[in-house]
Symmetry: C2
DNA sequence: CCAAAACGTGGTAGTGACTACCATTCAGGT
DNA sequence: ACCTGAATGGTAGTCACTACCACGTTTTGG
């Protein structure tokens, strides 16, 4: 999904980003987030501190950066309307999770990296706060995407339902990370939805 | 509810806290959060920057400090068990909101201050992130408080349900702030729960 | 009632995240 | 080949926050 303009500059750019982020997550995991300075990350990646800030506006973005959110929003917007909102969102989330992590046992390299990032997001207070705010931004994006021209009251109901769905997702993600990714994520999401919404989930 | 030990030192201490926080919220509202330095708050309150940090460990706490969370957790723990979790939490939240803001029209001075803080929490990214993390901490407190000795699976379901409830609460709070407190908060919470959970809300 | 302990407050000097502002180098399109 | 623009690096500065220490006042215990 990330387009590859294949121009040399763009390829190098994404490659540097990948390099910096990989070293950052590694160092944060080894030494701790607060005990690792941005300068350390830059040094490990072989670039100047300036370059780190060019690619990642804040230290937190070194862990949080990722494009999973966009995928989710698009999938929900593309899902067939008519069904109750909670079921639409739940189904889209389960599908997106299946695609990202696989429903079976083996974890891809991307999956392991996502897991490492998630662990940091859950345990480090500053990262957890920013991650929750990102989820809130995703909520806004979802509500905007599926706004069928209803009035403010409809939008309010959509906000409430979407927020509750994303909270259930978050619970599933936390459990998945605590389990080191051994339990399949789609199943956890389904369980979380069942616990929160009872009869109106896949 | 906050005990008054009535010893001179304690009274002075809470008074300085109140003073600093009041000036902070005022300045943040007038000039903006990022454009206001902690030094400015200290100067306005007539204390040294050091004293500000003594009472409020971070700049964000100047807005976020408050003991509403504890009230909510206690109320939920005290609610009668047996009913479905979502209904228990919803009822407790509506009651707590009624007590804090009143169900009628007039807004108390405390209510107006709470509204000003809430507006800052919603509009300022850094504060919004920390606020969402505080809600997440409240979720943990609630789950711990009503842990009836179930297994890990029960705890997982409680996490999912509680998180969804607090997301609905947050939606109601945002709407309340956007309305400048004109719509009664308990009713908004009830509506948000109805939108998210359908038939299982007050 | 008077000491000693505890607390609230202020100063100084630091660390670390982040932000201008500017110079240099090199890929991309014409 | 030339010029535009992007990517990187350096310097200096702001601001949140943290020791570490000193001084005065309130509280406490004999």
């Amino acid at each position: 999904m990330p387009e590859q303009p294949s121009t040399l500059r763009a390829r190098r750019r994404t490659e540097t980003q990948r390099l910096i982020q990989a070293h950052a997550v590694r160092l944060f995991t080894e030494r701790g987030y607060d005990a690792t300075a941005v300068t350390d990350v830059a040094e490990a990646a072989g670039v100047s501190p300036m370059t780190v800030y060019r690619h990642f506006p804040t230290k937190e973005d070194l862990v949080l950066a990722g494009q999973e959110a966009r995928l989710v929003a698009e999938r929900i917007a593309a899902s067939p309307a008519g069904r109750p909102l909670v079921r639409r969102i739940g189904l889209a989330l389960v599908e997106a999770a299946t695609e990202s992590t696989g429903s079976g046992e083996g974890l891809t390299a991307d999956g392991r990296f996502l897991l490492a990032r998630l662990r940091l997001m859950i345990t480090t207070p500053a990262l957890r706060a920013r991650h929750l705010d990102n989820q809130y931004a995703l909520q806004q994006a979802i509500v905007t995407a599926l706004d069928d021209g209803g009035d403010g009251h409809d939008a309010f109901r959509a906000q409430a339902a979407t927020g509750a769905c994303l909270a259930a997702l978050h619970t599933a993600l936390v459990r998945w990370a605590e389990d080191d990714g051994r339990t399949a994520l789609p199943g956890l999401i389904t369980e979380a939805f069942a616990a929160a919404f009872g009869g109106q989930a896949p």
